[in-house]
Symmetry: C2
Subunit: 573 residues, 2 copies
């Protein structure tokens, strides 16, 4: 392509409302334009990237034996009522009525539709297992769409749904999808981690998320420096500390702490090391445990992990923090002055608290804290549980190495759904013995449009995007220097252009009448991974200048060798 | 592919609610399944066809220099309010509110969105002309969706929009799109006609529809047997008859015709040739012509053409038929007893009436007709106009040959939009002289999913679909006979399968354990254009049996020659 046939729509200004780098760069490079909140038009340059990702996803799903279908975006309410999600799903589900006042929604996902298809089409165990997928436009009415296509309302997704007779067949397909996802993200040139994840509201028994590592990621993931252990911080176990608690060195004392409501204030005003403070958080208790309230304790420098907390049998589901009036009524002090000593409600402590000595906690009296407390001597050690988020340097739960906490952008998610939908919607087949069996399901999603943004978050520098070659809109940028003044440059550029095109290389020839600096800046901004510059100076010695987008310096390459030179770089990219 | 990896989902029964052949065959062949009224899931086999059509459309649009974009399906009301269509568009426009109670619609078309994009992105005449297209899911809330994907609510469409500085640039792109559409439909293997069409409500000055010829088509199109003249019957001129009227042979007489209300009854009861009867239709008159009613006359065997009628200055827009009370109040007789003699309202006659003699008309008295009337002698000849649909055998309006009327299915439509949207939405560029100019637009649509159904309407027989090779789900069906009993058949089939696949031929190997008759019937039903049968008998002489889907008889071909044999057929298909 030439820029005269394929005009660039780069912007000089950074759009004001773009909060993250991928959003800014997608706007500046002319990949997308905003239509309304959470709705984006893909411009020609951006669409080339989107289609490349789509193509990789399709090739790998096909290779894994999945069957591509295309389901409607508009879905009838009846099926969602059958599964129970019509009422459960929040306002993210865009509901509307058609002209006959029948209820429909714009599908954010397709479990109901595919389960309906499967119960109609799959009658016998002989038709199992089967894995259907589609690459299709979805809608989720986010309350606050932001970050461009990263958290858009309308987005392109690959969703797959598999059907099985038994768990071992599901395990097999799940494992194949796991490997397929690894292939897809690897082919896209992304540094990613597959992590164990919470199955959340979607139900089911096993789940992995695939995260592209990037500092701007919304999720924290924990992975070992010595093994392939990786998990969402929501799930990563924080192992119990090794060894016994140190011996007490201080006396317990009740101290007036006027105005101190937070750990930070306690540390600052009294110089207590934060590792010797304890946070007391109060939540609603499970009805089976008498209802009321229960206190959860974590070290002052640790964060309560709500997913772990909610899994405790004593805790009400969903997790609900107690209000200040509730706390005052039950304990007689405000939320900033609580602690485990003489606490009138049940209490569970994170396991790391077991090795604390001489620690400080609220006294359950406003403006008073206990300092120098020790378990056993001053108060009993509460029941222990894993309640906190793992942190950098924690030992890895698999016993190998220590954990690193990194930020990740979730681009894929695989689930074992079990019979959640097939039971609710009576998706049954006849088994080998002629009895009706409810099918077991798995589901497997990739955020195709989100992946484009995630790739940019991981691959950019201060000048713009640095596409991995496999998903770059063009592989090679071809820039003639002062073409208007030099017949030789024009002629050599055209010859190279024809040669590269004939070799099947996707080349963008910049034939605009602009200064070299503008060409360089634009090509860096849009992130073409390989750049060739044709100039009179190089041509004097039969050479052109090559520079990889991510290289510091250009190098000269003889024109006669350029094709082989590029091919080697394109195949290893 | 093997049927074990790519299961067929054919049905033995013809679905009850499918009214047209393509709908029946798409269900029976397992191409689509209904989710709800006008909403269909594309099964793997159908999706392969849809993607092939999509791919041909994309290649040809790219070849024509159009730039692919992808706009959201969900569109904000504000832009539709700007163009005025939010209120004009009927209930086919699916409107809804998002969670913040803002108005949106599911786009049935994208003029507003692309015009908004263009006014933001295109600032200078130097950026013109440009032609953006997308292949994208649309929604039209049809009151009575039917005929499967032919008239579905959710459908796949290619829509393109071009922007220009002047008419001549629009003409050029329009012509290129015309040729591109011809290439697309030709490549899809379709017998089609490009016909002049009415521009209707979308506005603009010039328009062609592309029709796939099929007896089940909803549109009537007229084309010459001696030239390339072709037009929608809505538009095809019915030329004035040659020569003068015959001389009167009968006396005018008022006849009692009790109960006769229609032309058919008149012909049946009184034996009058239908060509000597006149239909009198009463419509609302234009306010500029005093309002009230006006009568339109056509020959008894002709049909009033409402598009032509509405174009008469005397007729109110939109065309509205008068009610019986209105007619009685103005004329004193019911709608079945009207005629031009002594008619108290104005009257315009189709030009073919000028050569009538001894004709019969209502007498404007209930249950009375005039027989044997003649212009001049008994009543004055009214004003004449072209009011009727052209019929088979009419002279072609271009003076060459006669017209044939055929049924067509509209699969494409190109329009010169002019400034309808760009003026309403102020889409301007700076011209060469620095002045702001409103851009001129064209738009170009293809119903991609509808085209699949239209291809079946044109290409089928009593056994099933007969795909043109270019859009067939597979090119070759490979059927082993009694593979379970013959190692030789299995081995030869596998070798052929590997050979064809390696040659890039899309082959479907039927490895089901079913009778030959079932294989043959299924492959005929799903319409694979080329069939190879491997059996022991043929192998005795080193041959396999080849049959084209549309051929009457199979033929034997030596295995060694099969690749070249198929290649020749695939390239000419």
């Amino acid at each position: 392509m030439r820029t005269s046939e394929f005009p660039l729509q780069t912007l000089k200004e950074t759009p004001a409302d773009a909060e993250i780098v991928s959003h800014r760069l997608m706007l500046r490079a002319g990949l997308i334009r905003k239509l309304a909140a959470g709705l984006y038009t893909w411009l020609p340059l951006g669409l080339r990237v989107l289609r490349k990702v789509e193509c990789i996803v399709r090739e790998e799903m096909d290779r894994a034996g999945a069957l591509e279908v295309l389901m409607p975006a508009v879905q009838p309410a009846e099926l969602w009522q059958e599964s129970g999600r019509w009422d459960q799903y929040g306002p993210e589900l865009l509901r509307f009525k058609d002209r006959h006042e029948r209820d429909f929604c714009f599908g954010p996902t397709h479990e109901e539709i595919i389960t309906d298809l499967a119960r109609n089409e799959i009658k016998s165990y002989k038709q199992l297992p089967v894995n259907f997928y589609q690459i299709q436009t979805k809608f989720r009415d986010e309350i606050r769409p932001r970050f461009g296509v990263m958290r858009a309302r309308e987005f392109l997704m690959k969703d797959a749904y598999s059907f099985h007779l038994d768990e071992s067949s599901l395990d097999e397909t799940y494992q194949r999808m796991y490997e397929t996802y690894c292939r897809i993200f690897r082919r896209c040139g992304l540094d990613f981690r597959a992590v164990r994840a919470d199955t959340g509201n979607i139900g089911g028994s096993d789940s992995h998320e695939f995260h592209v590592l990037a500092a701007s990621g919304e999720d924290a993931i924990a992975f070992s420096n010595a093994s392939d252990y990786a998990a969402n911080v929501e799930l990563a176990e924080a192992l119990p500390p090794a060894g016994p608690a140190p011996l007490p060195a201080e006396e317990a004392r009740l101290v007036a702490t006027p105005g101190v409501r937070t750990i930070a204030e306690l540390v600052e005003s009294f110089g207590i090391p934060i590792e010797r403070t304890v946070k007391t958080l109060v939540v609603a208790a499970a009805a089976e445990y008498g209802g009321g309230l229960i206190a959860l304790l974590v070290r002052g420098d640790h964060a309560l992990n709500p997913v772990k907390a909610q899994k405790l049998p004593q805790v009400a589901k969903p997790l609900r923090m107690a209000t200040e009036p509730e706390i005052r009524a039950a304990i007689g002090a405000g939320p900033g002055s609580l602690g485990p000593k003489d606490l009138p409600i049940p209490c569970i402590a994170d396991r790391s608290l077991a090795v604390l000595a001489d620690f400080a906690v609220g006294a359950n009296i406003d403006d008073k804290h206990w300092f120098g407390l020790n378990w056993g001597r001053d108060l009993p050690l509460p029941e222990l549980a894993d309640l906190r988020n793992a942190v950098d340097g924690d030992p890895s739960p698999d016993g190998q190495g220590t954990l690193t906490i990194a930020r990740g952008i979730e681009v894929g998610h695989i689930f074992k759904l079990g019979r959640k939908y097939s039971a609710a919607m009576k998706a049954q087949v006849l088994g080998e013995d002629g009895r009706a069996l409810t099918m077991i399901m798995g589901c497997y999603g990739i955020g195709v449009s989100r992946l484009v943004a995630a790739a940019i978050e991981q691959h950019h520098d201060e000048r713009g995007i640095c596409w991995p070659t496999a998903i770059a809109p063009f592989e090679v940028a071809l820039l003639p220097l002062r073409a208007d003044k030099s017949y030789r440059v024009r002629e050599a550029t055209e010859r190279l252009y024809a040669e590269l095109k004939a070799a099947g290389i996707e080349v963008l020839l910049d034939d605009r009448d602009v200064r070299a600096g503008v060409m360089f800046a634009d090509m860096d901004l849009i992130g073409i991974p390989h750049r060739l510059v044709v100039g009179d100076k190089g041509l004097d010695t039969g050479q052109v200048e090559y520079k990889a987008r991510t290289a510091a310096e250009p190098q000269l390459v003889p024109i006669a060798e350029i094709l082989g030179f590029l091919r080697a770089r394109l195949s290893t990219a």
